[in-house]
């Protein structure tokens, strides 16, 4: 796997935020409880990297699902074996709760290291001074990663703030046995895709499994439709608030969605993605657009072996299938870590081959980002991910990672759902989105 080529987005240039006399002031005012540690954080940042690291590193984790939790524990255990003087104290919170509380968490007394996501979502907290730059970590691990991952791990100020552990592309999942049974072929163009949906429907299958109860799955569908219809750059402009949602291009992307809505599984508003995945695994549904973490739902090894996915079909030949949605998860250092030296050691380990391997040995639903990672142990889905990732020219993170979080959570989540329920009122929905976007992006 050589994900050299993907041009990962750099994030919007939010000058105002960077300009904010920010870093110190924000850390000082907001971090009242940890004020005492404030003055020392910057200096210890560069100084303590070389010293002997001992003691405990606290780590805030959002890996509350059983499989990732176990896999992350394996990473920390492997780290403890490699550096017996340092122990990792993990505080795991419910995945969604962790995200909801992140602002307060980072301003109060966060753990030394915390799990987070690449993209605008990481750069936002970096620019706000709520995380500690880790150029020293990247001095050690920099050689392990391709340039695209370097870009992904930097804040808008050019410093490193993030250590990635894996990525997981989104694709259209299906069961090989179902496709073989009905002689379906993998659709690469939009027309093929639509006629495949039609065939599945007549064969008594639900063509597209769908569960949007958590409100983010619909974003994945829109991201792909928009990138395939209008290209990666327009999608990023839209995410960064530069392009207008009332643009005819956006309407065109939605028109493709309206075309396939009748093939979506009913009752998606109340269904969790896990249940939607089950209908695919139980062969009731034919296809399911999701991230590769969907494989975690296939608990039976036979089901897992039967699971495969393909890249979202091309819509406009100008763009083809040149973009891939592949969110990257990883770790950040909080602004005033109590034990920075040990935390740096931990981050260096996470960014190493052993670190990523320790994770993937337990949870094979993701792919490693490390150069020359040994892919011989990869399962079919991981191998397919690596191929798609390597051939893609652009990598997007996901709407809620690429755009302003206030916009995605208070505007896009409800508006996408109201579109799904009333596709005919698209025009009024989009103009409402645009008005709210302007209010949020300019405030």
């Amino acid at each position: 796997m050589s994900p050299e080529s993907p041009r990962v987005f750099q994030g919007p240039t939010v000058d105002r935020r960077v300009m904010l006399k920010g870093l110190l002031a924000a850390a000082g005012v907001a971090g009242l409880p940890t004020l005492a540690a404030c003055s020392s954080s910057k200096s210890s940042g560069s100084g303590s990297g070389g010293g002997a690291a001992t003691g405990t590193v606290s780590l805030g984790s959002n890996a509350s699902d059983a499989v990732p939790k176990k896999a992350f524990q394996a990473v920390y255990d492997a780290f403890h074996t490699a550096s017996p003087n340092i122990s990792v104290k993990v505080n795991t919170k419910d995945h969604d709760t962790f995200q909801e509380q992140i602002n307060n968490y980072l301003q109060a007394t966060p753990d030394d290291v915390f799990t987070w996501f690449a993209g605008y979502r990481m750069q936002f907290f970096a620019a706000k001074g709520l995380s500690n730059q880790i150029d020293d970590v990247w001095n050690t691990i920099g050689g392990n990663f391709p340039q695209s991952v370097h870009d992904l791990s930097k804040g808008q100020d050019g410093h490193y703030y993030f250590v990635p552990i894996y990525y997981y592309p989104w694709g259209v999942f299906y069961r090989k046995s179902v496709f073989a049974q009905h002689n379906y072929t993998i659709p690469t163009t939009w027309n093929d895709f639509v006629s495949l949906c039609e065939k599945m429907k007549s064969d008594g299958l639900t063509p597209i499994a769908f569960g949007d109860s958590d409100k983010w799955p619909a974003m994945g569908t829109f991201d792909y439709l928009n990138m395939r219809t209008n290209g990666y750059q327009f999608h990023m402009d839209l995410m960064h608030g530069k392009a207008a949602w009332t643009d005819a291009k956006v309407k065109k992307a939605f028109s493709y969605w309206t075309q396939i809505l009748p093939y979506h599984q009913d009752g998606y508003i109340g269904r969790k993605w896990q249940d939607a995945a089950l209908t695919l695994i139980q062969k009731k549904a034919g296809m399911y657009l999701c991230g590769t973490f969907v494989a975690q739902q296939a608990t039976n090894p036979d089901d897992l072996a039967d699971l495969d996915f393909f890249a979202f079909p091309a819509i406009d030949p100008q763009w083809g299938q040149d973009s891939i949605e592949a969110p990257v998860d990883g770790f950040m250092l909080s602004k005033n870590p109590k034990n920075r030296a040990a935390a740096v050691k931990l981050l260096e380990f996470i960014g190493s081959t052993q670190g990523e391997a320790a994770y993937l040995n337990v949870d094979p639903s993701y792919d490693a980002l490390i150069n020359g990672f040994d892919t011989s142990k990869y399962n079919a889905i991981q191998k397919k991910s690596a191929t798609l990732f390597a051939t893609a020219q652009h990598v997007s993170q996901f709407m809620d990672r690429d755009a302003n979080p206030a916009f995605t959570s208070t505007v896009m989540q409800p508006e996408l759902q109201s579109y799904l329920q009333n596709p005919n009122s698209l025009d009024s929905i989009l103009s409402s989105v645009e008005q709210q976007k302007q209010a949020i992006y300019t405030s």
């Binding site: 002031a25 509380q101 301003q107 109860s213 009752g267 508003i269 109340g270 269904r271 109201s418 008005q435």
Partner: protein, 320 residues
Amino acid sequence: MTVGTSADAVEPGRAGLQPRAPKRLRRLTGRDKTVLTLMTGVPTSLMVVFVWVPALASILLSFTTWDGIGLDSIKWVGFQNYHQIFTIYPQFWPAVWHNVIWLVVLAAVPTPFGLFLAYQLDKRIRFSRFYQSAFFLPVAISGALIGFVWELIYNPDHGLINSLFHTNNPNGTYLDWVGHYPLNLIAVLVAASWRHTGYMMILYLAGLKSVDPGLKDAAAVDGANEWQAFRHVIFPSLRPINVVVAAVTVIESLRAFDIVYVFNKGENGTQLLSILITDNIIGEASRIGYGSAIAVILLVVSLVVIIPYLIVTFRKERRA
């Protein structure tokens, strides 16, 4: 009932106190004063710190934009938040409307039903302790848990209702209790009413216990049937409790949150003002100013409903 008795106690008490008041003050020892200061001072300062300061702060913040990170990012924007909420926030008016529906439904269904249950239980029927506990249980357990339990009942794919009635066939009858409006609104109102009934029952039960049984006997002697006795004797004597019930019902419907949030996060027809506040303030969104503006609107609505009602009621009480 509590309101009634305290009001009753204050009136004669005050009249009797006045001439003696100066003497009493002098009789207070230093220790009395310390105790009094502590006993009034501590609750007052807690009230100020935890209720008044945050309330005033959110009123101030509602005129700003703030992402919650660092005090220097607070920006004064005047009425911009309010203007946007009223004009371009599509979730707002549905939320207001649903709060009104909650108020009407909670007042119209579970409140009379709770009174009915209380009246029956007050007759000392067998197992009345058991019934009391059973009906009151929903009030005692957390709203989040209730939301979760009802989610298990309503889940469209494998919930109790759809499994029992086979209404979970995606190609046939498919009742989406969680996602489809107005089914989901009805579903949460059933869950909320279920809890509210127990609450109302316990309040009315307490009220009924304090009604002089002699009144009932007298009504019976006068030849009133059960309904007449209830309508003209028992119910009027429950007036103090009705004030509490009305206040509780209004408050419950305006601050409704937990059941809905757990049930479906308050989307697609189950929006409530309290949920919009949470959506905007909690989480990565952190539109503190915007969320505060919604909170202030909710505060004003609550005050507009509660204050006139309480004024009128207490005026009547005093006259009576």
